[in-house]
């Protein structure tokens, strides 16, 4: 990869973070137009983006971010007052930034015309009250670095009793040679005296970013005295001035509603621990290698070598492999917040467009999922949320008529339950009209009248996921566009997940998505069917048992058993596998092994020949040449190097 490519990748990654930060902060600014902290954050983000764009030579982007930076500056010193017009302008600015970055990424140029917008910005900036131009001299009262509430929390948690938080401003002599090298010496010195919470420029950027006005600002937590720190830093050659003052942390305050559920992992918090960006392809390779390691470890175990040394090494190997696996799994995990973060803005815009008032609450953003799953979830989640705004929440007048609050609520939450991650989208809107769904299903001949009669309410709702069932007469531009509910279901199924709906007329709708925690490596139960070994993923199994022939009852001509007052239908696994043998042979056995599996919303008793053992298996995909083999979801390699198939029990009923 050429140097330029590396810088480009870094630029895109950083730009994305800044754009997200800008969006979040403008949203906050909309609620709190006077919040100095937010304004400063915005200023700094625009400033940094400007610097990056200028370094990369992206002139249009530089000009845009420069103007936005100017605007933020004027807002900061009161020359511009924040109102809806300004907020909209700011949002538009961010959108333009996003567009230009996308243009650069896709086409390698900045061919986007934003002249009209730049003029708009310029107008706002120059119309601002003309204050006395301030001298651009170094005044001791100049702003230091501000701390966000997350940073303050961070400090509170990590600092010791006797530590003090200092704001340090260092000024380099004008004639300093190698200013950035001096700056790195300052950082070195400071980190020996305590720990650096925040700095301008940032420690990692020291080699790339120019020093603004020969100044370095650091927020340091240290047990040393002000005098000692001052002396240490002054001692460095070419330092003109060092100003230190103690920062008193504000009293702990109640987080406001927007902060509830926000995690420490928000992308705009400066983390004290260092992080690295990892190319996801490398992670995939790593996972594959660990998969191979696991397979070979299992095969080694199966060899059963009779040697003391061997017996000693094996559990060690086992432990190390498992630790390695868990660690890499954790590296691949990312908080869903990364994907959730774009939703507040999206919902705000949509609600505005449709004239609806919506309170959007997110919970559990810190819940972690495998990176690749998060990527795929983006589209389905977007679709569900847009539906909630478009079809779910009613207009304020309509809501009031129904006796509801004029402001509707949409809840997006994520949490872990056992070995699954659950994501829920809930709205208190008009609910899904089941009759309409059924009508549409009948019209499109997705189901027959008889089948409808057999269905319960829940099953009828699930019809929504069949292709072609869209109950809104016009396919509105907002959520139409060919991304139907059936695509949502398919995407989730491809991730090995499931989606359920609950809905009540006029009360609201809830979508519940469950996803397995890991994709590639799973716990499974190995069973024997007709002399072949099959694997059944543990998360699909409720329990296993052995029954006697006498326990089998008959209901409507099918075999069932009664387990703790539940009636569970039995299925011969040979039948599901379409084996060319007589089914029902199990009736001749004394003891019949059964695996109770979850198939959709039901439980089924799957009859197998033998229950073997539980094992961690590495899921291998079945060759692309074999498309969609019914009831088989993949393959795995077992102890003796042979392939065992993995049963997919979801549709086995």
């Amino acid at each position: 990869m050429s140097d330029n490519d590396q810088y480009l990748d870094m630029f895109f990654a950083e730009a994305r973070d800044y754009i997200q930060m800008l969006n979040d902060n403008i949203l906050q600014l909309e609620e709190n137009p006077e919040n100095k902290e937010v304004i400063n954050s915005l200023f700094r983000a625009a400033h940094s983006l400007k610097g990056m764009s200028a370094t990369m030579g992206f002139n249009t982007l530089t000009e845009l971010t420069h103007k936005l930076e100017n605007m933020m500056d004027k807002i900061r010193n009161g020359e511009i007052v924040v109102d809806t017009e300004i907020i909209d302008l700011l949002f538009a600015g961010i959108d333009h930034i996003e567009n230009i970055v996308a243009q650069i990424k896709e086409n390698g140029n900045e061919d986007i015309d934003i002249d009209g917008f730049l003029k708009q910005l310029e107008k706002q900036i120059s119309v601002a009250k003309n204050r006395k131009p301030e001298e651009k001299e170094e005044k001791p009262a100049e702003l230091g670095l501000e701390l966000s509430s997350e940073e303050i929390e961070n400090i509170r948690e990590n600092k010791k009793e006797l530590d003090t938080v200092y704001q340090i401003k260092v000024l380099l002599a004008d004639e300093t040679e190698f200013k950035q090298a001096r700056a790195s010496m300052i950082f070195k010195s400071a980190s020996e005296l305590g720990y650096i919470v925040k700095s301008e420029p940032k420690k990692e950027e020291i080699a790339e970013v120019e020093l603004e006005n020969n100044k370095i600002k650091i927020i340091l937590v240290s047990s040393q005295t002000e005098e000692d720190i001052q002396a240490e830093i002054m001692n460095i050659t070419d330092i003109k001035e060092v100003k230190i003052e103690e920062i008193k942390l504000p009293e702990k305050e109640e987080g406001d509603k927007k902060d509830s559920g926000e995690s420490k992992n928000m992308t705009n918090s400066f983390e004290v621990s260092s992080t690295v960006r990892v190319d996801i392809n490398k992670l995939d390779k790593l996972m594959n290698m660990i998969g191979e390691l696991l397979i070979n470890k299992t095969r080694l175990q199966a060899l059963n070598i009779k040697s003391d040394g061997f017996k000693e090494v094996l559990p060690q190997l086992d432990r190390v492999t498992m630790d390695l696996h868990h660690t890499v799994m954790q590296i691949r995990m990312e908080p869903v917040g990364v994907m959730f973060n774009r939703f507040p803005r999206m919902i705000r815009d949509l609600a505005k467009e449709e004239g609806k008032e919506i309170d959007f609450i997110m919970k559990g953003k810190e819940t972690e999922l495998d990176r690749s799953i998060i990527d795929e979830l983006g589209d389905p989640m977007t679709h569900l949320l847009r539906n909630a705004v478009d079809h779910g929440i009613e207009k304020p007048a309509e809501r009031e008529e129904k006796g509801k609050d004029s402001e509707g609520t949409i809840n997006l939450s994520a949490y872990q339950k056992g070995s699954e991650i659950i994501i829920e989208v809930k709205d208190d809107g008009s609910g899904i009209n089941i009759d309409k769904v059924v009508q549409k299903a009948l019209t499109k001949e997705v189901v027959s009248k008889n089948e409808i009669e057999e269905m319960d309410r829940h099953e009828k709702l699930q019809l929504l996921f069949e292709p072609g069932i869209s109950t809104k007469e016009e396919v509105s531009d907002v959520s139409g566009r060919g991304v139907g509910m059936d695509v949502v279901k398919r995407t989730i199924a491809s991730l090995d997940g499931e989606i359920f709906i609950e809905s009540k007329a006029d009360k609201g709708t809830k979508f519940r998505i469950s996803l397995p925690l890991t994709l590639a490596i799973q716990e499974a139960l190995m069973v024997k069917i007709n002399d072949e070994i099959f694997a059944i993923p543990l998360n699909a199994i409720s329990e296993t048992l052995k029954i006697k022939t006498e326990e089998i009852k008959q209901v409507k001509g099918s075999d069932v058993i009664v387990l703790r007052e539940k009636t569970i239908p039995l299925i011969d696994s040979r039948e599901s596998l379409n084996l060319d043998i007589d089914y029902g042979q199990y009736k001749d056995k004394k003891e019949i092994p059964i695996v109770i599996v979850k198939s959709g919303a039901k439980e089924i008793g799957l009859i197998v020949d033998e229950l073997l053992y539980q094992q961690e298996i590495v899921i291998k995909s079945l060759s692309n040449y074999l498309n969609n083999v019914p009831n088989i979801s993949g393959a795995t390699i077992i102890g003796d190097g042979e392939v065992a198939l993995i049963l997919d029990v979801r549709d086995i009923a």
Binding site: N578, K620, I637, G641, V643, L645
Partner: protein
């Protein structure tokens, strides 16, 4: 130009190498560039609900690849399956970025053939479908039926079977 008696042939730009193997007492060939490796057949795991000709899957250094039973695929007489027990091999081919194993009775040699040594056939023995065959070569000691792998593996699939 070729001369049946001479072993040497004039190297032609259109010469290609072909891997030859035996299926049910007949010689077949495929372009060497498509063949990746030849292995002794490990245990083949049956995959239910797939075509008759798909024998199952095997583990090829960690990757799961399907194995095609060539006799069934070509529609040949089943009885010919016997014999050559120790010589049976799986020829692993790479086609359209997919690895597939072909189960054959034995693998012979690599021969060089030029395009004009391969004749079209109007009708073939044993009723093999014409689109499966690229042509027939009558040079060397016996007939070599050159297989069109693309058509063989990717035209309409046949009826499904159980295990």
């Amino acid at each position: 130009m070729y001369n049946k008696d001479k072993k040497e042939k004039i190297n032609n730009v259109n010469d290609k190498q072909y891997l030859t193997f035996k299926i049910a007492n007949e010689n077949y060939g495929l372009e060497l560039t498509q063949a990746k490796e030849i292995i002794k057949p490990p245990k083949v795991t049956n995959v239910p609900n797939t075509e008759e000709s798909i024998q199952g899957v095997i583990n090829l250094r960690g990757q799961v690849i399907p194995v095609i039973d060539m006799i069934t695929k070509l529609g040949l007489n089943e009885k010919e399956k016997e014999g050559y027990k120790n010589e049976k091999r799986i020829v692993v081919i790479n086609i359209k970025e997919i690895l597939i194993g072909l189960y054959v009775d034995n693998v012979k040699e690599v021969v060089k053939l030029s395009d004009n040594e391969i004749e079209d056939v109007q009708e073939t023995k044993k009723g093999i479908r014409q689109e499966y065959i690229k042509g027939v070569s009558t040079t060397s000691d016996s007939l070599i039926i050159i297989i069109d792998l693309d058509n063989l593996l990717f035209s309409n699939k046949q009826k499904k079977k159980g295990a």
